[in-house]
Symmetry: C5
Subunit: 322 residues, 5 copies
Amino acid sequence: MIVDNAIYVDGRRAAEPGTLKETYEAVRERRGVAWIGLYRPTQEEFSSVSEEFGLHDLAVEDATEAHQRPKLERYGGTLFVVLKPARYIDEEERVEFGEIHVFVGDDFVVTVRHSEAPDIGAVRRSLEADPELLRRGPEAILHAIMDRVVDDYMPVVEGLGIDISEIEAEVFGGNPNVSRRIYELSREVIEFQRATEPLRGVLGNVIQDEPTDVDPEVRRYLRDVQDHLLQVTERLAGFRELLQSILSVNLTLSSLAQNEEVKKISAWAAILFAPTLIGTVYGMNFRYMPELHWFFGYPFALVLMVLTSLTLYLVFKRRGWL
Amino acid sequence: MIVDNAIYVDGRRAAEPGTLKETYEAVRERRGVAWIGLYRPTQEEFSSVSEEFGLHDLAVEDATEAHQRPKLERYGGTLFVVLKPARYIDEEERVEFGEIHVFVGDDFVVTVRHSEAPDIGAVRRSLEADPELLRRGPEAILHAIMDRVVDDYMPVVEGLGIDISEIEAEVFGGNPNVSRRIYELSREVIEFQRATEPLRGVLGNVIQDEPTDVDPEVRRYLRDVQDHLLQVTERLAGFRELLQSILSVNLTLSSLAQNEEVKKISAWAAILFAPTLIGTVYGMNFRYMPELHWFFGYPFALVLMVLTSLTLYLVFKRRGWL
Amino acid sequence: MIVDNAIYVDGRRAAEPGTLKETYEAVRERRGVAWIGLYRPTQEEFSSVSEEFGLHDLAVEDATEAHQRPKLERYGGTLFVVLKPARYIDEEERVEFGEIHVFVGDDFVVTVRHSEAPDIGAVRRSLEADPELLRRGPEAILHAIMDRVVDDYMPVVEGLGIDISEIEAEVFGGNPNVSRRIYELSREVIEFQRATEPLRGVLGNVIQDEPTDVDPEVRRYLRDVQDHLLQVTERLAGFRELLQSILSVNLTLSSLAQNEEVKKISAWAAILFAPTLIGTVYGMNFRYMPELHWFFGYPFALVLMVLTSLTLYLVFKRRGWL
Amino acid sequence: MIVDNAIYVDGRRAAEPGTLKETYEAVRERRGVAWIGLYRPTQEEFSSVSEEFGLHDLAVEDATEAHQRPKLERYGGTLFVVLKPARYIDEEERVEFGEIHVFVGDDFVVTVRHSEAPDIGAVRRSLEADPELLRRGPEAILHAIMDRVVDDYMPVVEGLGIDISEIEAEVFGGNPNVSRRIYELSREVIEFQRATEPLRGVLGNVIQDEPTDVDPEVRRYLRDVQDHLLQVTERLAGFRELLQSILSVNLTLSSLAQNEEVKKISAWAAILFAPTLIGTVYGMNFRYMPELHWFFGYPFALVLMVLTSLTLYLVFKRRGWL
Amino acid sequence: MIVDNAIYVDGRRAAEPGTLKETYEAVRERRGVAWIGLYRPTQEEFSSVSEEFGLHDLAVEDATEAHQRPKLERYGGTLFVVLKPARYIDEEERVEFGEIHVFVGDDFVVTVRHSEAPDIGAVRRSLEADPELLRRGPEAILHAIMDRVVDDYMPVVEGLGIDISEIEAEVFGGNPNVSRRIYELSREVIEFQRATEPLRGVLGNVIQDEPTDVDPEVRRYLRDVQDHLLQVTERLAGFRELLQSILSVNLTLSSLAQNEEVKKISAWAAILFAPTLIGTVYGMNFRYMPELHWFFGYPFALVLMVLTSLTLYLVFKRRGWL
């Protein structure tokens, strides 16, 4: 699906060709920079674009089927970038990953979105509001998209951070059944790391390895994006460590809880058992047992039982076993 | 065993010599690129090939006995590559590793297969269907084989991923006896890593270090293969971490399960024991015990027993111990 | 808020302009080095500064909102450094992180503080007391601030070290309930590492990558700062390892404590149960049981009970179960 | 002790001087390459050699006392290499490390063996059988010795692999007392890693850093040795990971075994206790208890006891507690 | 305190000036190399030295107060090296760290010792006994001190190794209370690593980065020191891994010990409880219970009790529960 299709001249939206053909012509006549936005394009839609701009077969194959890892590939004069935007779905405590492919040529940008988020339309609007930046060429568009993707990582990281706090509260609040949540969060973090770690290399490549192409200002902006990305990856690495620690802590707490229970149960066993001993004593059949003949022997025994249990109860209470 | 033996001219299968000798002559007369496919060749079969193409003794030794690690070696003008294809055997939850050796010269390729999978014949057929690529020379053949080997890793990774999901389901479903499965899966993943990690260096060497030999297009394709390989190795690294976490989680859950059992058992002990206490009381031999003389004393005692047990049962039930 | 605003000539405080405007003029006329100290400046306060000194938009954006990671960025001739000072709050056993931004130009330094600590005023006073150093230019000011920030890490590290010693004492003193403290200390250490690790790269960049700008003497001083920083990061890494070990040790000790308790409880169960057995024996209804007819049969049985319990008690005592 | 002492000309054993002096003369007159084999030489034996060939004091000191780590040192024109051969002693499940020192000059090789294994005589014989290789100079001899040392690592690795399989069988066969074996095997693997890891650097140095000295063919052979070494070190790293996993698994299984035992014991306690309850009931002293007066009251009670126990037994059996 | 103060000419102790002043003069007149040995110098003592030799303020500050990490700093023509000698205090099982600072100029060496060990006097004597080496200049002195410091690490490593062996013996000998010792040894090893790891970089810098200054022979000797250091650091890394393993093993063994105890206790419970069941049976009040009227009924019951207990004892004995 073609989402948007515009020609930019000097940082301003100059034309909105009705068809891709008109866009191609405009580009061929060097009348400006084209930015074509596609959403899950069909094989046919995409083949038109790829033929016109001479996109490489491998990139085309990658672009029509998702499930790539973040990467940057240079085919002749065209840069092909794969990004993995992320979105935090709060109710499921799950991170959902999307996929965006960006082709950057000398005077065109083609963005291919394979997921709902992020809203590239919003990126386009904010760029159009900053002609100063947009005029710096296709790389500025690439930067804007990367910036959005990385900025959108932040709330995800926050969401995971909140989950970890919740887990901490649960673990230390005495609910050891959070093992599953800890594990699933670990899995989310690992997947998230897989989506963001390779991006460091991608950004590093755009910034450092191609000193000739990229506008120095855009490079500065890209460094800013990289900085935000580092913040994301460093916090994720910290999350991994925290989750591992909390797993150990949870095990220790569960072991301690067992100690407490064993003590509690043993205390109650003693409280129950002591009167039985007394009962057994007065159940003996000796001929000469004075208590048996007392008029208040029976109540005496009962009181003795209750007193023994009560004493034990208080003893255990004071020792913190109950 | 000689599986296939053909001469390619301009990307097309030009001749199928009946014997290796004819192939050698064709190559000597520079009539095209030879591709000889061998399957577990005997010492004699292979010595003919190695003499003709001047293969290095060390490579020959490696090629006739399997059990190599993935590697790339350059002997004079000939490239020697060892690959470890993998196959997932679902019923045994086991990864089976094969071994393929590829010799790449200026105008010949010799493939030596030491395992059933993968089907190099299929690779040959699909390459023959793409003369454009095949014409780019022996490296294109090398790429095609590597591509197949790495593509075949994907279903193995998927299979392992499914196993991990199953294990998760079992662990959280309360079956702690999956320790063995977790361990064996870890072992599979470690072995798989050993088969794939060195391949990164091999591909890196083919792509970067020899800028003069390899066709730029082929290099681009190799980079695509490397990208897929990275996806494999990154997921495997993630699997290792997940399996380690799940081992810890399993230990914690087993500890928690023990807590639950201790509680349950203790509850039943109390339920059984309480009536014993009552029975002991009425088994005492005091002369003056009014209940003993009641007509309904015995039923009264039985009802008392049942009521006590029932009360305890309900108490424990409400506390979640039963 | 403008905290301080002065012009330095030859390492001495030459002027204290009443407004920023006068400062700008002085700088423009190359009359000395300006050092403007700001504390949580408003958008307006800061825009005046940034316009005058041509600070980059990205840096300005960073400077007005805190929550950056330590970094160094070079925008044209201006160096932008983000530092994360730390302060140890003893009563809460918590590390509090601040944020300082420093802009270093050819003849100006702008410091933006976003936290109470550290006292940059003190840094300024001590620098003013050492004109020899201050004369070496804006980098000397940068060094002085970094030096203070890194020196202030030391007491934090000491505080964490003391906490670890306390935890060790508690763990080995038999109080296994320190899991929470261990975990929270781990979290503090991880956060602290996140604040200090990137600074290594920042210092490395200032020292090595820009051989032309920085005065060799200042570089030497920066190397000294880096050395102190390394001491901090190495100790933190050691803390992480110690805390992980102590978590394991705590688990082991909790398991051992359980062993001890099980032994103790079992011993008491035996001591209680043995007289019950005797009581049960003399509660049997055999016609011919000589003891039942002894005049001292009952006291005999009681003494037997007590003796059995006492014997068991002594046996368990000697075996260390009680 | 002088084990062997020969002069090689053109890859063939040309002379066997009766004394070291004759060997020195032959070398001085450039009549061939000398290969002197020593076994735990005394200070005096070695000083003669070291003086003649101008070996460096440091190397001499190293060579007369063992306990070095694998290393390569270049003193002027002489290469000094320390190797740690390994041998697997099956009955003790222990890896024994030896030590070999090799001095390689322009026209001499001195090998100093400090351990029984490996048999350098065999290396010499097989080299003498391949004059083509031997003629390539002293480095070929160095290669042959390294090749033997690394090849001898393989059976050690295999032995450790078999031990791990045995341990796996024991762990999953329900014998948790393998902790000690796991630990000791870990120690062996760590020591083995310490003997083999530095060798990677040694080989890398011989192969890459000295492009002028080494015959390209010998270099190729050394690369083959390095490849085998990598196989060893990769498998050892895998062993470490497996042993760590199996330690965790063992702990989990021990915890699960405890759960099983607690269940089993509790089940038997219930089976034993239920008849006690019945007995206690019929031990009560109520005047009106019909069963007590039945003629078959006693057998009835006994049957009731057995039936209750049997029912409990079957219930627990079906639940898998017994 | 000035410990020693001498002028060396051509490797020989030429003069022993009575005061530092005379030493300064001798150096100024280029009459030889001065080696001044200080022990915890006061601010004043040191300021004389630092002024004379133009030592850098930063180095002076470092030298008068200890607590540095091992490092190498070059201030103009003067090398400043910080070393952390170690000493093993056997009775406390503790590693004590000292500190030595060495200033190396073109024709002077100043050593500042802040700890008892090591005996630099002994280093001086042994150097004076080897004029050949001493003549090679101040770097030879630096080497000799480093050599001594690193050699002194060896007995510390041995001591730690012995401690680990003792711990192993205790752990496998069934004493699980070694957790504390394991932990404290881990802490010692971590501290020791912190003292030795940075030294690798220091030595590497002296050897590699300054190709112009250092005598090649001295460099060779330094490489030997580095080799010994590597042996130390590799063994320490091994110790860390062993201690981590043994911590896990200890936990497992403690868990197994608990299993054994639970079994043992349960067995004794059954042995005690079985006669109680019999006693309860014969305590029932049925009118028709033949055994009650037997003359030998009571002894029969007692024998039955003993036999049951004995049988259970033997059964548990054979099953290995007792």
